[in-house]
């Protein structure tokens, strides 16, 4: 699709379609919760990402034809080759037979096997990522509290170009 589409909006929603298919695959695997949560998160994420992709690209309107890729021919060859390799791998690999029966709640088992022994690591990682997001936003924001409330933080109400809804 990236080779066919010349607008950022179409490419974004082609990517969303692919991600929705991933959610569908998860549901087929019996991981209902993860599949539906993937659909939910990816839809919102791609909707927000469309804003940023269009905001930061060279052609903001995105309706003029433009190419998304460099080295079109090389990229096409690499794509075709890796697709063929994967298909051959799927067809030729000796897949093992199912042993035992599927658990009652595969999502729970998957979570335990992924996270069980490393829960502390995961929690620490989550907090570190969250702190990074907050720090990035604080550093990137143009107007900090000193701009809003003055050097001594004494001005009330703050000098905002657009007032919020609470009259602060």
């Amino acid at each position: 699709m990236v080779f066919r589409f010349d607008s950022m909006a179409r490419a974004t929603f082609a990517l969303l379609t692919a991600l929705l298919c991933v959610g569908g695959e998860l549901i087929v695997l019996g991981l209902d919760y993860l599949g539906i949560a993937t659909v939910l998160m990816m839809t919102i994420e791609m909707a927000i990402m469309a804003v940023f992709m269009i905001m930061f690209m060279m052609n903001p309107a995105g309706l003029m034809p433009m190419t998304m890729i460099h080295n079109k021919r090389g990229a096409a060859v690499i794509c075709a080759l890796s697709f063929a390799l994967l298909v051959v791998g799927i067809l030729l690999a000796p897949w093992p037979r199912r042993q035992g029966r599927a658990p009652a709640d595969p999502t729970m088992d998957l979570g335990m096997s992924l996270m069980g022994p490393q829960m502390l690591t995961m929690l620490t990682l989550g907090m570190a990522l969250f702190a990074t997001i907050v720090a990035t936003v604080v550093l990137a924001t143009r107007r900090g509290r000193y701009d809003r409330f003055g050097d001594g933080l004494q001005d009330a109400p703050p000098a905002d170009p657009v007032r919020g809804g609470l009259g602060r």
Binding site: Y33, I44, A47, L166
Partner: protein
């Protein structure tokens, strides 16, 4: 326990939703209803703007009613739903998130400034309402200790969740309006932007988009019944009658609210949502969690 409905319910569900949306629109119009407008749109020729991205417009306008109907699949009518998924609440939320994509696509596609503004307004509105909304429906799931809509209904055979989770219920009603970008949250399709996301639509496209918005409103209002108002539980009458009555009451309240409250500017609601609604929704979830743990 919510039983699965027979297979023909899949075919009947969209028709029932359309009827309910039609009735709501008729009551809201306080006159003959939308019949003449629907006929006019059906025969109207499509207007196509210059350099429009037509597939995206078609996709957006179709996706909106489709998402509403898919969300209604987990909606119990009395004690029967088309599919009582084990993660029905997440399913509902995922389908309503598709409306984000639909409205943005509809705004983007026609290559027109005002409709683009409408589409982006809906994204801003989505960011404002989604977080308190998610916390509110999570609170209901927490009270029932299950993501299955049937289990949430079962948990309310005694006390309705609206009684002991009033904050979550209120936030849900607000976000139901915002989800359908209707009433005080109609800025994405607002008259100040000449119809916003719907501004360039005509003919069948317009019918699908605006009809889909009514469907979304009905589904959002109807989902408040199993989540907070006890579903089909009630004395004397059968379950389906209680569902219809309660849904009508919620819709009536939303229609009333539309007439009482003027359109809100999105940046104002954004601040309210993040500074007030999200913290009180978290506090409500905390209270419910403590009650559930102590039970």
């Amino acid at each position: 326990m919510v039983d699965p409905a027979p297979l023909w319910a899949v075919a009947v569900l969209p028709a029932v939703l359309v009827l309910a949306a039609w009735a709501t629109a008729t009551v809201d119009a306080r006159s003959t209803g939308p019949g003449r407008e629907v006929l006019r749109l059906l025969v109207q020729q499509r207007r196509i703007t210059r350099a429009a991205d037509i597939p995206l417009v078609r996709l957006g306008t179709t996706l909106l009613p489709v998402a509403a109907v898919l969300a209604a699949a987990v909606l119990p009518f009395g004690f029967r739903s088309v599919s009582d998924l084990p993660d029905g609440i997440v399913w509902f939320n995922a389908m309503e998130a598709l409306a984000w994509a639909a409205v943005w696509l509809t705004g983007w596609g026609p290559n027109s400034t005002l409709s683009l503004i409408g589409g982006y307004r809906f994204l801003a509105q989505g960011l404002a309402y989604e977080l308190p909304h998610m916390l509110a429906i999570t609170t209901a799931a927490l009270g029932a200790e299950s993501l299955r809509v049937g289990a949430v209904v079962d948990a309310q055979s005694g006390l309705w969740f609206a009684v002991w989770m009033p904050v979550a219920f209120g936030i849900y009603l607000l976000s139901a309006l915002a989800m359908a970008f209707w009433g005080p949250f109609d800025q994405p399709a607002g008259v100040d932007a000449a119809g916003g996301a719907a501004g360039e639509l005509s003919g069948v496209d317009r019918l699908l988009f605006l009809g889909g918005r009514w469907l979304l409103l009905v589904v959002a209002a109807a989902f408040a019944v199993p989540l907070f108002l006890g579903g089909g539980h009630g004395p004397l009458l059968p379950g389906w009658a209680w569902t219809v009555l309660k849904t009508a009451a919620v819709l009536g309240f939303l229609l009333w609210a539309r007439r009482r409250v003027p359109t809100l500017r999105m940046e104002r609601y954004m601040e309210l949502a993040w500074v007030v609604l999200t913290p009180i929704a978290v506090a409500q979830a905390l209270v419910v969690a403590v009650v559930v743990l102590a039970r």
